[in-house]
Symmetry: C2
């Protein structure tokens, strides 16, 4: 059971991060290049302009999003390291205060003073374990996986490219932006629905309801971009 | 000291999430519309097309990124709720196993069997606190802030719009995409550098080094988008 629970936990945490990254990358990739291409379809006469803009967007977007993921992960690691250094200093300089903080952690769970003292005295015997404990239970910080930032960056970036090429592909095989927009909208709606369905399954939500929600949000973003692009184009 | 530490913790966590959201939104906003406009500058003759595409991108991007942040926050909340339900079920169905899991948590910090038993017995007296403890210390899950998803969505979306309008503004006040690109690149490099500088200050990194890094990455993304857009345009 403990083994089951542990593997469940690992699996859940691991897949949750991976799936969150795919969800972020794919949902942006499906939505933004689709909406950009849709917006341009109402404003230019050539598929080449739509495709050029779309591909420029996918390249920039995948790098920026991947980078965003990478930087977020790096920031998390740097934060952990600086707090770790601080805790090691604190248990040297103010050990009694740090012991009192252990007791505060357990007081909030209703443990009595005597038990709190036993825990604090025992924990303080091993400095590394003491600091480990303070990091996790006082500050709520887990040691970040060193590969996490890199993996997250790659997952988000690739998901964005895959997502973005789907709506754009329609403009390769059609003659006018209007035809492209029609096929692109059809393809993207199907993909958003499918993507929303599996996303909901994985996160334990009602899949049809989730699929409809994801599709509606994607279509709304594209419609907003289309209308604003039309308005901007009419202004000039 | 405990109060100091707590306020330090709150502050650190709070600002870290908020700043991470701004960093994600702004870095994408500065990079993607800049790169898209740069790419189109080498491929079209009219500033109107560049501005139309840029604004369509900012609208779509801010909605997609805001939505990404919102969905990520919602997923986190749903995950917490489903695990909470599971823990309440487990302490009813297999209380002895759950008590053993408490002991496992403390065994890894070198506490002896007797202390482990005292903690497990005391914790098990209050079911709500027991579940709270299992959520945080067995599964490593903090109760997500209900406003977090909404705040995060708004912060990322607004940061994206602010970031995106900066590189695009150059095309409003110039006559050709080439002139626009020149001013846009100048403006964006200054902003990326400034943004990188303050970002590094806030995260406790060497500010100049950080500013150079952020600027180089932004320029690299824009250059890649520019070259790929040029190549695509030459293909047709």
């Amino acid at each position: 059971m403990a083994t089951d629970n542990n593997s469940h936990k690992e699996e859940h945490l691991g897949s949750s991060v991976f799936i969150t990254d795919i969800v972020i990358g794919m949902s942006d990739g499906l939505t933004v290049p689709f909406a950009l291409a849709a917006g341009l379809s109402g404003a230019v006469q050539s598929n080449v302009v739509v495709i050029t803009a779309g591909i420029a967007e996918i390249v920039a977007g995948s790098i920026a999003m991947g980078l965003g993921g990478y930087l977020a992960g790096k920031t998390e690691q740097e934060h952990y390291q600086s707090e770790l250094k601080r805790e090691y200093e604190e248990i040297e300089i103010i050990p009694d205060e740090e012991k009192r903080e252990i007791k505060v952690v357990f007081a909030q769970y209703g443990l009595n003073e005597q038990t709190q003292n036993i825990i604090a005295d025992e924990l303080a015997k091993d400095k590394d374990k003491w600091v480990d404990f303070m990091m996790k239970y006082e500050l709520g910080l887990e040691k970040p996986d060193a590969n996490r930032a890199r993996d997250s960056a790659a997952t988000i970036g690739i998901s964005y490219i895959v997502g973005g090429l789907i709506p754009l592909s329609a403009y390769f095989f059609t003659r006018t932006p209007f035809q492209g927009l029609f096929i692109s909208a059809l393809l993207t709606v199907i993909c958003l629905f499918t993507f929303g369905y599996f996303k909901s399954k994985v996160t334990g939500q009602p899949p049809i309801k989730g699929a409809v929600k994801v599709t509606l949000i994607g279509v709304a973003a594209a419609a907003a971009a289309f209308l604003v692009a039309k308005a901007v184009n009419n202004l000039f």
